[in-house]
Symmetry: C2
Subunit: 130 residues, 2 copies
C-alpha cells in the first residue's frame, strides 16, 4: 500500500474540501491547513478538477469545492486519478505462479476497502468497520 506523497496530498486536500462549509476554498488555505507545498498543490488540484472530482472558480473569493457530495467520493476514486491505472502483469514462472493469486487477493481487498470509505467518513471521523 505504498502511496506517493502526491497521492497523500490529494487525499488530504480532498478531506479538507469535504470538511469545509459550502463555497469555494482557496488553494492557499488548503496548503496552509495541510502543510502542502503551494505550487505542488496547484498541480494536484488541477488534476482532480480535470478528472471531474472537484470544481473551481477563479478570481477573488474563488477556490475549489467538491463536484459531488462527500459521501459519493471514495478514497479509491481519488487514488485512481492520481496514481493512474496500473497495467502491471508481472511474470511468475513455474513454481512461483501461486504468488500471483496472493497479490490478486490483496489487491482486491484493498480495492474493496478503499472503495467503501468516502470523504464523508474521513471528514466526520467515523469510519465504517474495517
Amino acid at each position: 500500500m505504498r502511496l506517493s506523497a502526491r497521492t497523500q496530498y490529494a487525499l488530504r486536500a480532498a478531506a479538507e474540501l469535504a470538511a469545509a462549509p459550502p463555497g469555494p476554498v482557496p488553494a492557499e488555505k488548503i496548503a496552509a491547513a495541510q502543510d502542502i507545498p503551494r505550487r505542488f498543490l496547484d498541480n494536484i488540484l488541477l488534476q482532480l478538477r480535470r478528472a471531474g472530482l472537484i470544481n473551481s472558480q477563479r478570481g477573488p473569493d474563488g477556490g475549489y469545492w467538491l463536484a459531488r457530495p462527500a459521501a459519493d467520493i471514495s478514497l479509491a476514486d481519488i487514488i485512481i486519478v492520481v496514481e493512474g491505472v496500473s497495467q502491471d502483469s508481472e511474470r511468475f514462472p513455474g513454481v512461483a505462479e501461486p504468488l500471483a493469486d496472493v497479490w490478486g487477493a490483496l489487491r482486491d481487498y484493498e480495492q474493496a476497502t478503499l472503495s467503501e470509505i468516502t470523504l464523508a467518513h474521513i471528514a466526520s471521523g467515523s469510519l465504517p468497520p474495517l
Copy 2:
C-alpha cells in the same frame, strides 16, 4: 502493495528452493528457472543468507537451500528482510487524521495475510483461504 523487483525476485527464488528436492541448488539454476539477472540474484541471495533464511555451500555441487522447513518461512519473513522495516509515520494534520487509521487497518490485514502464507503453500500450489 507495491513490491520492488528485488523483493519479487527474492520470493520467487525462495519458492524455487522450497520446491526443489533436498540439497544445494546453484544460483545459476534459480536464475534460469525464474528468469532473474544472475548477478542481481547473487546479491539478493546473499542478503537472504545473512538474514538466516537460507544456507549456502561453496565449491562444486554447492548452492543454496532453505535454513528452515518451507512451512516455517512466511512470505512476510522474506519481504521484511528485503524491503527493510519501514519507519514512516506520515503526518495527517487536522481533518485528515482518520486516514492514518485506514492505512493502519490495510497494513495490518496485509501483514496478517503475508504472515500466514508460507513457502510450503506456494511450492505446493495450495493456498489457505484468503
